[in-house]
Amino acid sequence: MRATDLVVLGQLYTDGAAMKVRHHRVRHDGFRNFCVALGQLQGALRDSKSGTDPYWTALMRSAKRFRFDAMASPRAFSDICLLGSVSSLRTQYARCEGMYPQLVALVRQVIDLLEILSSTKDSPLLDAASAVIGNDLSDSFAIVLCESRLMAALPSILLRVPALKGAHLVTQQHLRHTVWYDRLLLFGAPSWYGDFVFQAPRSRQIDVFRYAWISGKVVAKGLFTAPLGEGPTLEDEGSDEVSGDVIDVGDVLPAPWFADLSFADLARHAEGEAEDDGSRETVRARPFLLEGNHVVFLEAEDNATALVLDLDEDEEDRLQRLPVDDISEGMYVLLRAAGGGDYVVAVADGLLGAIKMEVRTMQYEWKARLRGLVRESTLLEVSLRLLDRGSQKANENNVRHWMWGRSIRPNDPADFDAIMNLVGLGAEKDRYCLAMKAIDVAHLQAGQVIRRALLAQVRKADLSALERDGSMEFDLPGGDTGRMIASRVIQVGRETVEISSSRVGKPIETEGA
């Protein structure tokens, strides 16, 4: 244990309870005009129910992203990357008059203001933070950003500001660790930060820099219904008063993603229209929002697991195969960078060598026959026929799972025998059984190979970069097919959805802020 740990822990347990929040309301007329215009456009689209028209996607994504980035990071407006150029937006919306004549004026205003702002070097949040810190001799302060994406280019920007060049630049995730600073500087609405930032503070003072027209009072939240003694307190020196043209923070950042999105729709949209009959390979999957506005569906059937990196664990225990239902925010899921699916299959194929083609063909063959029978009747009908042939565990769910290409064979030999007999392969069931056993063994060995290779990569990786950026690539044997990406879990979907097995493990890009 390092000497600082005890000191820091003492501060967390004692000084953290006396934390104060100071609000610094920042003004900038040009940016306020832009926010007001964009808010009016959002309202008009909502009122006219036109917001879902894909026509608006490019403009709204660009403008909303610019607004959020300008509010949540201390940099000049001209240092904010636009999703698309202003000239392309002008071209794209030149015909707005014909389609949405009532919105033309607002659209032009938003684009005009976006163009003006994106070329101005004004940096109101940076200036405000510099002014506050400039008068203070604190030797340890940190700039805390709510999203890793916002870190880009900021270190070099801060180097040009004398008062801030000594700042530690961290994401809010960093504040889950045993760390302590004299002061924390946050940017934007407090609700963009996790509760832990304020309820388990890593400083005695948190300075929140936010534009005057967004709200943001911080309140103490107790954990328990019936606490013994006094509950937690938190001193927030600012009232929540804002100017009349306040912007609802919820409009600036999308509401919790799992409330907004239909995952089934998201998955269907990503894979195109899939046939919806019993023969389709579907699995129950849980959605995860990953760093960088991606959603991935991970199989959540019984016993389903996924590879995760848990940076909180000791070195040897960091790489774990966890039940999908145990994966939580802050962990890093490991996904194949290309091709999706599970890297285990690709490695196992290599281990199978010369017999790969033969055994994989056999695996495909009996599953195809079983799917064919389901297509001709129903899952229930096939389950009953399997039970008649001695199956122990046939039911609709299990038959669906057995049909799935990623599963190898039923665990119970009686179930496999029943399938072989039903699909007309009874005479060859021993040969098929041996082939599936070979695949099983290859998958087990593949899992060990991957684990060893990943552990070697993880040991030599700069994991602070992973924590800072929220994702990192690891190169494993196999060239591009062996590249894996560790991505931080931002949010875990509460409900599982039934999706095509081909979508499992493939990140889907979402619209973002």
Binding site: M1, A3, L6, A17, D195, A200, L223, P227
Partner: protein, 329 residues
Amino acid sequence: MLGRLHLLLIQDRSKWHELPEWARFFVRLGFEVGRRPAQDRRLVVAVGVPARFLAAAAASAGVVAGGVSGDTSNAHEHFLGLCSAAEGTPVILERGGRQYLGEIHGHVKREGEVWLRVRIQDPKTGGETHLIRESQSSRVSLVNQSSGVLPKQPHGVAPISRPAFIRSLLGTEGLHRISSATALDCVIVGKAGWLKSELGGVKLGIETGGRTVEEGRLDDITRTRQVIGPKRNYRSFIVSSTSRLRHALSTARPRCVVFDGALGFLKWRHNWRSSHWILVLDKTDPRCSDGAIALNGEYEGRSIGIAEDLSSFKRPPAVEITAFYGAVQ
């Protein structure tokens, strides 16, 4: 009641420091829970903390120490039982921090006091025999099976790697109680890697006079099966919050279950409903609020009410605490 637990030291960069107040809080909390018999009223205590480090491990040590202190076995009855045992009854004699296999050889009366005779050496090679008075009888415990013959030379085994540390902390009787038999005082549910390193890695100490410090570990108190290894008497058992729960453990009735984090609580709280619970919720844990919601659900179904007697319990400023008597199943 705490014995010398409040005098524990912690080593940091080769220097001894007083155990910080927040760490002592968890030891005291565990002790307070552990000393209460679970069959009377089942106590559920939850704490919200700013960092999880050492909290559950320290509470577990308190639970085991509390359990040992709350052992209400009657010394007089124990002594009478030993004296009335048949000649040759196998026993273990605790002596100088080592345990010796022996046999009872009746009792004698000298100057009005009854002394138990315990032989620990083969009579052919000397027949070393010890006389034990009633007040020292906790050093003798009955064992189920005899090894047959007594050894030619008595060679006791050290049941505990740092007996002087435990003796200084809990006294000779405490040392004997904690090491002489396996008893499941505490199940600790959490990340096994973290817990093992905190229980077995953090250096503690206790001053023994002359400014000498006896070094030890939290696990010298908790005697966790996964840290001390097999074939030794243990008092605690770690259940990994990310692994499957073995049936034998799920049906065990430990004195107390310490949940280190929300995940293990959410997964395994349907077990051990006759035991005390201590739940440590790290406020930076993404599952913290889920854990608190589940805990508040337990509060709704409580059997009696909040544990008023714990309301005066001094806590570090950044700790939230709740305590109530849970429904027993």
